[in-house]
Chain length 427, copies 2
Amino acid sequence: MTKPLRLGIAGLGTVGVGVVRMLRKNADLLKTRTGRPLVITAVSARSQKDRGVSLSDYAWEDDPVKLATRDDVDVFVELMGGADGPAKAATEAALKAGKDVVTANKAMLAEHGHTLANLAEDGGQVLRFEAAVAGGIPVIKALTEGLAGNEITRVMGVMNGSCNYILTRMQSAGLTYEEVFAEADGLGYLEADPQLDVGGIDAAHKLALLSSIAFGTQVKFDGVALEGIERVSIEDIRQAADMGYRIKLLGVAQMTARGLEQSMSPCLVPETSPLGQLEGGTNMVVLEGADVGQIVLRGAGAGEGPTASAVLSDIIDIARGLRLPTFGQPADSLKTVPAAQSTVPAPYYLRLDLLDKPGALAKVATALGDAGVSINRMRQYGHEDTTAPVLIVTHTTTREALDVALAGLPGTGVVTGDPVALRIEEV
Amino acid sequence: MTKPLRLGIAGLGTVGVGVVRMLRKNADLLKTRTGRPLVITAVSARSQKDRGVSLSDYAWEDDPVKLATRDDVDVFVELMGGADGPAKAATEAALKAGKDVVTANKAMLAEHGHTLANLAEDGGQVLRFEAAVAGGIPVIKALTEGLAGNEITRVMGVMNGSCNYILTRMQSAGLTYEEVFAEADGLGYLEADPQLDVGGIDAAHKLALLSSIAFGTQVKFDGVALEGIERVSIEDIRQAADMGYRIKLLGVAQMTARGLEQSMSPCLVPETSPLGQLEGGTNMVVLEGADVGQIVLRGAGAGEGPTASAVLSDIIDIARGLRLPTFGQPADSLKTVPAAQSTVPAPYYLRLDLLDKPGALAKVATALGDAGVSINRMRQYGHEDTTAPVLIVTHTTTREALDVALAGLPGTGVVTGDPVALRIEEV
């Protein structure tokens, strides 16, 4: 098979330019490894501005749908982003026109992945998305292929570099969330809509994609119990560190008797664990299989080179003739299962503000006890105003019991504001 | 493609039995994921003893060569081990008979990989070996496919769990090498010939296989500069710890202007680095690509489940129709390059025994300086006999200069015995 594989690339931002650069720089290497030339025939972007890379060898299309359906394109490479709009229209057009599609678009796949996978498989096309999850880490391949002999028992990960940057920077510099957020925004580390990052949405998109492959289920983004990092205070980070923990925006997915549990939320993890050691913008994914045990993958979760590398790996697979279903098994065999809220018991970290009244601590302890939540450690801090910060680490309990306990706190008359409750994952 | 894929398994030790168990337990899952049943048709082993798993559904062959060439076998699964002998004979017979081969045999591939890859590719067969390197970690797949868009710049790894167990146990329990070696041997952690483990041979086999894929070179095991862990003393481990390092049996492979450098030797790595944090029998492989940066993979490097999982992933690839050359590019395109001895400069840790004579330290410092090796830190310890242990950390230097310096030490008349010299890798 020495026929060139002809690529049409839509979207020439950081990642798109990275893909063009790698295809040019590594042309000989890629031909040796795949047995055929990988050639760009046409590109599309919003404007024809100078991007520091020559595009004169390629046809230009203003309309990505036109690019996607060109006769001289075998693989449509979608790097525009956005769950809907041009990205989705062009992807659908490409699949309907018999083109394979490679995309880095986590939002589109988390929202429409099942429909798109069906569309691809109906026509015998492939739709691949290694670059959509954890940047340069070949995690989709590891899960879909490398560990495919295993029943997957759990998937975990820190998959948003911006959040991890904010949390580790708060810790190392002793700055508040607001200070580091402003800093990260100024450095261009955050999405145009920062809520995608700090609200955990971007990371939850990624988790939903991994879940689908791991558990053979239809991708279900709205099944992810989602909590951002906005309420994590420097105080929480300090207290966690005192107890030997770090706070990470951690995704966890596991199949239970009650359904598929998916959560993306700030959690405490041991500081000596691989997840606890993860600094700055690096990503880490933990895959657990019944036979293989725990496999940990670590690498750059974003950036031109790492993301382009992942896009290339999908293109290379197609060039080599690997044709897998989008989620590792036929789309029509993917199950729908109910979304379950974490039934797996865990200890929790609580921080609440207590009114300075006699017997206040006892009232809180009673409220927790009444809900079946027992206290492992409790600390009250010195204070200058009328409320005192109190920190509680519970024994292992269910989220259900904890929610009952939290609902009972206002009734004590001694707790002000909303308590912070973070799960402790002893990974 | 719903035709069953028919497997013949030779070798029913821990890994072979693990593969049989996984194929039975996960039969439905595997059929869903590959689109076809994976069935065992025949097995072979040295004896028909009870192995805790029913083999009555499968034909039995005493001779693995006969098994490998049976008409009802599509894929020959070689799990006997040994670089030559029955494993090689049966693998060759299978390939000549038009069968694909999956093997966990690092010794056979490190010694004969190039010949076997040529044999496979001449006939259009595939020969796969995910289980040969780092147990359950899908590292062959990550390198051959996941990072295939990159020029690979360096490969590193801790890939012998027994050595890592010995080194971490020495550290944590404060025991000598000899004590922990005896303990590990008693626990059955070591190969029948322990030199394969502690001499670094097993780990070097694995490194040579990774090098071949990474750099597109013919596998060259005898090009690995090899040093085992036998000379690492508890004193070295303590001194390293004092300076913030751990000692690991570390493999490093990189292409330089002078050729392919491959080394497997005890090295100092920062205790806070992913490699430094690696405890016990776990393996870790670090892959560095020009665009993707550093990717770190961690998991169980041995054992029934992890190794069987890797064997299964190769079988699944074949069932799904993925047909790659053994080393990721056609065997006849693999280069032969000279083996180079580490030209990449690094700091070194030296431990030597000094005679208690006036000016002894100065003589050592002069000998090192004459060879162009400058000293960063030096410590002399209290002592009760006529020699004093001295510890030196050099500034960054070449191995060549260091060897000149070491050769000059006997001439000083103040150094007794062979100095220990360990490279420091600031990974």
